[in-house]
Symmetry: C2
Subunit: 93 residues, 2 copies
DNA sequence: TAAAAACATCGAAATATTTAAATAAATCTA
DNA sequence: TAGATTTATTTAAATATTTCGATGTTTTTA
């Protein structure tokens, strides 16, 4: 992973609402449509759309269009690469 | 680790200069005084001071006063906690 | 086809971040 | 002790982020 991508992912992770969105995946196993995010996050629809875009742009969420909904999947591979980048900060590997 | 601390660490990691500072620890094994940071990062002294403060406030760097220098040590334990928090996003642990 | 539903985009306001010049504080050294 | 060195703080400007209302687009459904 490049430093630029690491920076972008870190920025995507640096917001309480976006963290909440990512944590929602823990409970609901698979995908998650935008409307459901609206159910547990107290923000206007454009704001949620904005946050989801940040997460997608950082490649943390993979959007899948399904009719008029968009379902998001967590990109666990990117999470692994992100973790590996952090591990590389350590002196003794 | 609390979500608030995770948010703060993520924000600290979301800047190219701060990433560069953390990567410098890889090469120089142990500690790192502020002046040396100035050697490889092209920023004014107050800016470097500001970035180091962000990293210290996020608990990623541990400052140790040594005469008129301050040596910083990487806090690997916090890195581990941070990584554990990310792991918890995943559905199948 | 008209209305509804889901999501995106634009524009603007409020707030936060980044940066550096000027200055201050602490400590070392001659 | 005077001057030099290292780091912090203050202030201000430039830029970025967060948020929402209004509006647009796409797709479903009545």
């Amino acid at each position: 992973m490049e430093a630029k991508q690491f920076e972008k992912i870190s920025r995507a992770l640096s917001d309480a609402h976006r963290i909440e969105i990512l944590q929602a995946f823990k409970n609901r196993k698979e995908c998650l449509p935008c409307t459901e995010v609206h159910d547990f996050i107290d923000l206007a629809q454009p704001s949620i759309s904005h946050h989801l875009k940040q997460l997608v742009d950082a490649d943390l969420l993979l959007p899948e269009k399904e009719g008029r909904n968009i379902r998001y999947r967590l990109n666990e591979q990117v999470l692994d690469n992100y973790i590996r980048f952090i591990q590389s900060f350590k002196t003794n590997l």
